[in-house]
């Protein structure tokens, strides 16, 4: 058993990959077994990633060579504080969402569970691979695995889902090609695909156009994956028309992985000196992010459909993360990573509540919300309120603290405009979330039946309700512990030159 644990970094990816294939076979044989199998696999993977984090905290960063091949040739898995932390976050969110998905998948995509769980596992394997790998090309491979299964998960939805998935596919592959081209240029120049090596070699060959072009390609590829502002076109339709289960799965972690890669590239591969000082890339990212925040929030206010509103709010929130990365100082970096975690949980919880609404009310159209919801589904509404307040950034929930860090980063770096953007956008968040809260709590019910409040309480099924509530509670706990996390884990992420 101890032997098994020594190469724990690679285990999550391996287990997920093999179980994805095995799972489909089992599901084909005994369909009813597919969900429990998936849940147990993901639970094991989460446990391992938790163990990984503890191990990293104890032993410091671990470099795992695939098949003991030395780096320039072999693929190197790097398990440092950053990757362990993000991996744990991604897996826990996935676990909770998949736990919630059983009823929803059966209801919304009858008869397709067979492939669904398999692709979900595959996607998770792709994401975990991206997080753990230290090799640029290997990252591309996992990127493609993840994206392809992602498109599958979206396409499974009802009428408009395939078109949305197709548009996402087009943009996704474009991003993949951009990224591949970028690595090609870099490989041509540096001769190595390993991140650590390229980071060491690059400063010497700074001025060459090939490196710049490679850099640009890689950034734009990740920009699309991350749905950074001008490149976010695909996101609203993808998240809205995807089946509730997959949109709840993709929204929290999909864009976050893209942000993680951007972070990894900016701080650990290219190094902050190139990005922030010589080239205006950091500046561009910041301005795009700020624009994204404002754009996302304003669009979210205009939406009538809850999931679409949450999609646009994701664009805004990912803008926060990009802003944190772009501002290139200690505070902003911690703020960005914290926000990755907080937003994963917040968005997960919100999409789960949206799924509950769709399941019980048959719709998630904001204009048709009225106070009968509060009577019918009090607990879901409570979870929705907590995550909404956290999105607005009110203590004691988590959103407040990551916003605090980001704002501190802005103050530290004297970016007054970005400070204003961060603070003002929380007002915009307040507008579109309170719009929903007001309707759900205060709008008198239209039809008579609900008017006298006689409607019985038909809350969502416990299996759907429990994960939502856990997420909501996690928001509060993580909020109060955010500084403990920041000091404990994130303090050790010391990118060179910061």
């Amino acid at each position: 058993m101890t032997h098994l644990l020594t190469n724990s970094p690679v285990l999550p990816v391996l287990i997920l990959l093999s179980s994805a294939l095995l799972g489909t076979v089992i599901a084909w044989r005994r369909p009813s077994l597919s969900w429990p199998f998936t849940i147990s696999v993901v639970a094991v993977v989460t446990a391992i990633s938790g163990y990984n984090l503890v191990r990293v905290l104890r032993e410091g960063p671990i470099h795992y060579y695939q098949g003991n091949w030395a780096p320039p040739i072999g693929i190197e898995y790097v398990l440092d504080h950053l990757s362990a932390f993000v991996m744990l976050v991604v897996n826990t969110v996935a676990l909770l969402v998949l736990f919630h998905a059983r009823v929803v998948v059966k209801a919304e995509t009858p008869g397709k569970e067979l492939g669904y769980y398999g692709t979900a596992l595959l996607m998770l394997c792709g994401f975990n691979g991206i997080i753990i790998t230290g090799d640029l090309f290997n990252l591309y491979v996992f990127l493609e695995i993840g994206s392809l299964s992602l498109y599958g998960l979206i396409a499974v939805g009802e009428r408009k889902a395939p078109i949305a998935a197709f548009r996402y596919l087009v943009m996704g592959t474009l991003a993949g090609c951009f990224y591949l081209l970028g690595i090609g240029f870099l490989y041509m120049k540096t001769g190595s695909l390993n991140m650590a090596d390229t980071a060491a070699i690059l400063p010497s060959m700074l001025g060459q156009p090939a490196v710049l072009v490679g850099l640009m390609f890689v950034f734009l590829g990740m920009g699309i994956k991350m749905a950074l502002f001008p490149l976010h076109g695909w996101l609203p339709d993808a998240y809205t028309y995807a089946p509730s289960a997959s949109s709840a799965l993709i929204a929290p972690i999909g864009t976050k992985v893209g942000a993680y890669v951007l972070l990894r590239l900016v701080y650990f591969v290219f190094g902050i000196t190139i990005i922030a000082r010589t080239l205006p890339v950091a500046k561009v990212i910041c301005w795009l992010a700020a624009a994204g925040i404002i754009y996302g929030s304003i669009l979210a206010i205009a939406q009538r459909e809850l999931k679409r509103m949450l999609a646009y709010s994701s664009i805004a929130q990912i803008g926060y993360v990009a802003l944190g990365i772009g501002m290139a100082n200690r505070w902003a970096l911690t703020g960005a990573i914290l926000h990755i975690m907080n937003h994963a949980f917040m968005k997960g919880c919100l999409f789960l509540t949206a799924a509950n609404f769709r399941r019980k009310l048959g719709h998630s159209d904001i204009s048709r919300f009225d106070w009968s919801i509060r009577k019918k589904m009090p607990w879901t509404m409570a979870a929705f309120s907590i995550s909404a307040l956290s999105m607005i950034g009110l203590p004691p929930m988590a959103g407040f603290f990551s916003k605090l860090f980001l704002a501190m980063g802005a103050v530290n770096g004297k970016h007054w405009i970005f400070l204003v953007v961060i603070l003002f956008s929380s007002l915009l968040n307040a507008v579109y979330f309170f719009r929903v809260l007001e309707k759900a709590y205060l709008k008198p019910a239209g039809d008579a039946e609900a008017a006298d409040g006689a409607c019985a309480r038909d809350e969502a099924v416990p299996s759907m309700l429990i994960p939502t509530l856990i997420m909501a509670l996690l928001l509060i706990i993580l909020g109060l512990l955010s500084t403990v996390i920041a000091d404990g884990i994130l303090a050790h992420i010391a990118p060179p030159g910061l």
């Binding site: 548009r167 087009v170 943009m171 474009l174 700074l206 001025g207 156009p209 710049l212 072009v213 850099l215 640009m216 390609f217 950034f219 734009l220 920009g223 699309i224 001008p230 490149l231 076109g233 695909w234 609203p236 339709d237 809205t240 010589t278 080239l279 205006p280 890339v281 561009v284 304003i298 669009l299 206010i301 205009a302 939406q303 459909e305 679409r308 507008v431």
Partner: protein, 579 residues
């Protein structure tokens, strides 16, 4: 002599707190008993006993300190309150009785206060209690007068407050000491605040405006306390300030002239209060020991006969229900007793020998003469003549004698206790008139002045008789009361009141209203805009286009184009920078 220092204030205040909860009979008895008890306490407690002090933050408060000056004022206040109690014995109005007691209590509180803090507390309580006495008279007119009275006193209180604060901050201690010396802004403000209560002409409008409209019994109390406490404070703080002499003399003449013009009997008496207080203010202004004695003595006797005058006027008002000279006349046969009691008061105020007015007024006037102010002496005598003319002759003549406008009206009988109260006051007036030493014993400083010298008697007799003769000859031709109201200083601030009100209150309110409406309108416009963020791009005037996701979905090609555009842009930028 028990030296236990029971603060007289406490007796009154406790009484005032108990009275409202008692049944009617007990209430009336108490309104007489409590002031009598306070009078006893004041008489019993020796002047030298140690004051009651209290610590507040890092200042010491002297709650009650008894010395000759405050003792005499305390005595007359308690005594007049007892008389008022008798006069208002028949009353069943819970409000008036408590307010009267509270009013008298706070007046006594002011006299015995040893420090500015307690003085200010009682000063403001006096203002509030007296307002209730005005408000209890039914009718819109007294309500309005009550407001003006209250606002004016709050303003006066404000002046006093700022003066005291400046003074205390300067001297560092709360304890009251006479401010004869330094003329700091603090002392000027205190002077102004006190002059408001002393009804000095520019600031006297509240008295002549509110007293005629107070309740019948309330007017008696009002006439006794506010102005005389102000005189006491003047005597305590500002003895010898030259400006007071000048103001005093002007007051005496101002009051008399307006009294002659006035038509409502209680307005005439109100103006006479102003003129009599003028004597006291002049006395304090002169500042010599004899002047202060004169002022105090005059205050003492003035309280008595003015109260009697007001009781008389009140009785006439209660009996006939009419208050204007033009409506009154020929009551001699119906209210003989009231007439004779009123006459005693009239003789006292005019300074007839053998009445208490003579012994105190002549002392003040002589003090003025002694202190080499001949002009002041003459003018004061002129005012005395005027007083006799209007109160001594014109008012009684036109109320009790003169033609009977409509003689058939029945006159309601007055309650006996009223007569008793008036009788008591008249008795003391005459008593002091005959034996001045009774009053002189109580005065603060040593008195070596004999009012009954031949010289003074001759002087008084000559003046009074010739005035009577002239009045008699000219009474119908010129002194006939006219049905009109003489405009007074308060016209200056009541006429523009609505104007000021419109410009300050309404302007500010409309301004903020406008800002709020604008805010609401812009918020509404904003929500309209936000409903469709792409509205400006559609640039279609009029109805905003309804936002639906499908209408604004960018084509894939557009997405790719933005991607490439961004790529090219960033490339050029970085190449430029690198180059």
């Amino acid at each position: 002599m028990i030296d236990l220092h029971i603060p007289p204030v406490a007796v009154m205040i406790i009484g005032a707190v108990i009275v409202p909860f008692l049944p009617r009979i007990l209430r009336s008895i108490f309104t007489v008993l409590i002031p009598a008890a306070t009078l006893a306490v004041i008489l019993v407690v020796p002047t030298g006993s140690d004051p009651i002090t209290l610590r507040l933050m890092d200042y010491t408060l002297v709650l009650s300190r008894i010395d000759p000056l405050s003792r005499i004022f305390g005595i007359i206040f308690a005594f007049i309150c007892t008389i008022g109690g008798f006069y208002a014995y028949h009353l069943s109005d819970r409000w008036q009785q408590t307010a009267a007691l509270l009013y008298a209590g706070s007046a006594i509180g002011v006299t015995f206060a040893g420090d500015y803090f307690t003085l200010f507390i009682c000063w403001e309580m006096m203002a509030v209690a007296s307002t209730i006495l005005i408000w209890r008279a039914a009718g819109e007119e007294s309500a309005r007068a009550g407001f003006r009275y209250l606002l004016f006193h709050v303003f006066g209180g404000g002046l006093l407050f700022s003066g005291i604060i400046l003074q205390v901050q300067g001297s560092g201690s709360f304890v009251i000491t006479s401010l004869a010396g330094g003329h700091s802004t603090g002392s000027w403000l205190i002077l102004l605040g006190v002059l408001v209560n002393a009804a000095v002409p520019p600031l006297h409008a509240w008295l002549t405006d509110a007293y005629p409209k107070a309740t019948i019994t309330g007017a008696v109390f009002l006439s006794a306390f506010t102005t005389k406490t102000a005189v006491y404070v003047l005597a305590r703080l500002f003895p010898g300030w030259p400006i007071l002499l000048v103001l005093g003399v002007i007051m005496t003449l101002y009051g008399v002239i307006y009294a002659i013009l006035a038509n409502d009997i209680r307005t005439i008496l109100a103006y006479h209060i102003v003129s009599q207080v003028g004597f006291m203010v002049a006395g304090v202004g002169i500042g010599t020991e004899m002047a202060i004695n004169g002022a105090t003595a005059h205050a003492f006797s003035h309280i008595l006969y003015t109260a009697l005058l007001f009781m008389g006027a009140g009785a006439v008002l209660q009996a006939t229900g009419k208050r204007r000279l033009t409506d009154l006349g020929g009551l001699y046969k119906k209210l003989p007793v009231v007439f004779w009691l009123y006459l005693i008061a009239a003789f006292s105020i005019s300074g007839f020998p053998l009445f208490n007015g003579f012994i105190s007024k002549s002392m003040t006037v002589a003090a003025a003469g002694e202190a080499h102010h001949p002009w002041a002496m003459l003018l004061m005598n002129l005012a005395a003549v005027g007083t006799f003319l209007s109160v001594g002759l014109k008012l009684p003549y036109f109320t009790w004698f003169g033609k009977e406008p409509h003689s058939d009206e029945k006159v309601e009988p007055l309650p006996l206790t009223m007569y008793f109260g008036m009788g008591l006051a008249a008795a003391v007036c005459v008593l002091h008139g005959l034996f001045p030493q009774l009053l002189y014993r109580l005065l603060p400083f040593e008195v070596h002045w004999n009012p009954f010298t031949r010289h003074h008697l001759v002087e008084a007799v000559q003046m009074l008789t010739i005035t009577f003769i002239i009045f008699w000859t000219v009474r119908w031709r010129w002194l006939k009361p006219k049905k009109a109201v003489a405009l007074d200083v308060d016209w200056l601030y009541r006429r523009p009141a609505s104007f000021i009100r419109r410009w300050t209150v309404e302007l500010v309110d409309d301004l903020f209203e406008g800002v709020e409406r604008f805010g609401l309108k812009s918020a509404h416009w904003l929500t309209e805009q936000v409903k469709n963020p792409y509205f400006w791009r559609m640039a279609k005037p009029g109805r905003p286009v309804e936002y639906t996701p499908d209408k604004y979905r960018p084509a894939s090609s557009q997405l790719i184009l933005t991607l490439l555009g961004l790529f090219v842009l960033v490339m050029i930028l970085s190449l430029l920078i690198r180059g």
